[in-house]
Amino acid sequence: MSGAAAQSGSEKLVEARDVSRRFGEGEAAVDALADVTVAFPSGRFAAIMGPSGSGKSTLMHILAGLDRPTAGAVLVGGVEITALGDRELTQLRRDRIGFIFQTFNLLPVLNAQENILLPLSIAGRKPDREWFDRLIDTVGIRDRLTHRPAELSGGQQQRVAVARALISRPAVVFADEPSGNLDSKASNDVLELLRNAVDDFGQTVVMVTHDAHAASFADRLLVLADGRIVHDGDSVTSGEALDLMKSVG
């Protein structure tokens, strides 16, 4: 059931139109995405699930402007990013997009506070002190600010990464398996944080995961299989999500 998952009433913040992505050439070519059309309204938390090789990561990379589709268009805030050059894409990542990675990706040479502020120092902006304070209290790492990543637990590192993603108040945060490297307690903490960011700050979050429990924190669940969207609906419990996955896997 491909097609638009109409969320009437909200602006389409991120939108993919007939997006295809093919890797390789000739006989070895693989279609990672086939004519995917989907839109993400602002202020919502969407989870993208799918088995390995379903194209979920590719979709996220393309939505975030990290990869280019073979065909189709991607719009962020009404701007077609597939037509942008490197300079404009860099600007887009600076101003409008935040990232959370499975492996945290903190710079080992910087402490927690410096890691959080890194996007602002790259952009050459002054931090909003109030927002920073609120963020670190929200993620709960105030007492760890001067620690280096090596001195933090996995959960703490990922919470620093969440704060880093939110510090520049991006229009959308893309999270790539944010709980994939964490134990269940830390995992719940981080997912709770994302949930709160959507509820309290009106943050838009798009999360890729293969964990049904993680997906249950979202408002909306998309399931991909073989490069196509096979399910698009409201949030479900983790049990229902598991069943869905079994049906496509």
Binding site: S57, H61, A64, L66, D67, D86, R87, T90, Q91, R93, R94, D95, F99, F101, T103, N105, L107, P108, V109, L110, L118, P119, S121, I122, A123, R164, S168, D176
Partner: protein
Amino acid sequence: MLSLVIRGFMQRKLRVALTAIAIALGVALMAGTYILTDTINKSFAGIFSVANKGHDVVITPTEALGRNTRSQTSPITEQMLAQVRATPGVAEAAGSIFTPGTFLDVHGKRLTNGGAPAFIASETPKRFESFKPVQGRFPLTAAEVAIDEQTAKRHNLKLGQQMIVAGSAPAKSYTIVGITRFGGGESFGGAGAAILTPAEAQRVVGLPGHFDQIDVAATPGVTANDLRNRIRLILPATVEVRTGAQQAAKDTSDLEHNLGFLRTFLLVFAYVSLVVGAFIIFNTFSITVAQRTREFGLLRTLGGSRGQILQSVVYEGLMLGVAGAVLGLLGGLVLAPALNELFKAFGAELPHSGTVVESRTIIVSLAVGIVVTLFAGLPAALRATRVPPLAAMREGVEIPPAVRTRRAIVIRAAIGIAVLLVLRLALGGGVGLTALAIILAVRIVVVARRVRRGTRPRRYRVVPALARVLGLLVSWRGVTGQLARENSIRQPGRTMITAAALTVGIALVAFVAVLADGTKATIDRAVSRSFAGNLIVENSQSGNNEQGIPALVAPALRRVPGVKGVTPIAFTQGRVRGTSNNVTITAIDPRSFEQVYRVEWKKGSNATLLGLDSSGTVLTKAYAESKHLEVGRSISVLTPTDKHVSLTVLGIASDNARLLGDLTIGLPLAREAFGQRDDALAFVSYAPGASNAQVQPAVNRLLAANFPQTRSRTAAQFKQDQSNQINTLLALIYVLLALSVIVSLFGIVNTLILSIYERTRELGMLRAIGTSRRQIRQMIRYESLITALIGGVFGLVIGVVGALLVTSLALSESGFVQSIPVGTLVILLVVAAVAGLLAAQLPARRAARLDMLRALASE
């Protein structure tokens, strides 16, 4: 961004230090060279200002042919001195002698001064004298001498003892009556000086009635300039008249000119080390950029622009460059005295008091160090900008290659051609440049074809193949050897660049070794072919053509029983009218030369030599061809004594022994028109039936008694001397090239440490499945050994082929004999292998120390 770079720096101290040293060593040699030569310059400037103190006007021979071309016969006469004394405004004028000579103890042993020259000097009136006695007095009779303090100390000479002074006259023994000190400091630039009475000095150096110099003092109220102008008017153009200040400036400028050679010589080695350092920096940056792909990707996803990535890597290069350059500059301070010691060890002592660090030294060293580092790091920095943001998400994202558009190639080709043109203007052609142009042209064509077809280059076939072959050396050691071999092939580009750093040094050593071996073989053959006599008599300070042997030696030798013929040979120079460079001139005795020397005639015969008695000349083939001169042509030659002589070309000859200069003339003409008094060599032939066992000892007895500064050599001994001289120079060059080899060792250490860091997981796994620490160490050592041998083999091939190419292209005409010193080359390969094992010590220990669990957990 800058703070991020600084943080990164602090985290990677070892790597930063190793990389900085790579550039610092080259800079150190450069700074050391400048410091040493500046120090020598300044020391001499001090000496010259003392030597010319109290001299209002100084009269010296004109150097008609340019710097350092004084004739052996000074045009300054007693009569000139009388004229000067008669000039109004002259308070005092005195002639003096200052000519190189030889000092010996009573047993005939040379009193050397560590390679510094020794001078025979005459006492001058007090106001002109730069030496003053610290013990005893100046000589009063022709049997007395005053010797300088340094020589006296070194050889423990005391007042009242005897010593021998040898010049152009037969040697004579003198009583030491004084020990003197140079006014400026403890030594006259390291040189020895034996002061005799003026008349005795003139006699000993063979210049009765002549002086090397006239010193003049003005009466009060007459300026030095006025007096100079007055004297200039009355003296001929064969002498220069300068004020004391002008003379000091001229002496200093002469010295600077002579030191220029030393400076250039040393700087060449500094540049070699810098090139090797650049390789290492290039490699280190390439590896670290590859290792930090994920970090760059992250910065890009967080909104970092390409410019910012470029900046961060360039900043890193800048900081590294500054660190390396500063370190190098400090190293230069240490190296300058060490270089001086090195030259001392090779028999060339130069005065150096204090340490002179000119601002030029600081500026040039820092600039060169920083610029080289920046440029070497630039390719990696540009590569870093191409890291896609996606690299933050995934492992193993490849950095896309630079886009090779038609425009990019045209730009590159244009830059290459421009560089060639600049080199061509700067160096003026040459074989190397032609080769470079051909390589460039081929490269352009290959790349252009590749772009048209849209294919990527296939790279690195030689390195893996070579590594596999060399790997056989270690693969018998079992799995560690095999793994080492495979590891060295894994990243052929990296292995190649690491090896290339070593290749540069090894190639240069091999090149020089082949050239030197060929030179020895060439001399050997030339002496065997051309020399038909039995003995060669020369100055016993071998290679000292400047002092040569007294002209009295040849006639004296003729009286030794068993000697049939003696032919003296002298060297001088001149300038052919219509040309701008000086020519080398060999003067021979036209009647006896053919008895001891086989001339390879192109035009003419031995009978032609008789024509040299008057105004005939024989040209070498090379010179005749370069100036399009034929037999029968007449040329006008300017001599060192500022005369013009007209010579007729009588014959053209080849001479692989290089005894014959561009021009060969008769000795009588050389004595009369060129002022050449001493000979350089004398060739002796024995009478039929006379044996060397009888004649050479007799010759030696005569020489020891009358001319102790000379010695006789058989052809075999002569060849051995020549070969020893070449070996000495070779050893000096090896020492200096060793620096670049040391630099390349740091490169191997660096690459190994970085590779080990990369393979942390793999090493952990190897340990986990039972590899011992010892085996890990062995594996790393073997990998280093293979890399070093690849560098060594490439170096040998490039060096040997290069030397053979150069000698067959440029020197084949001159009969150069190519010879390959197999022993030296084998040793060189062993040195490379040992160097590789040495470089692996630290990395191997680090790899073996890795904590297994942490290594496995690391990402």
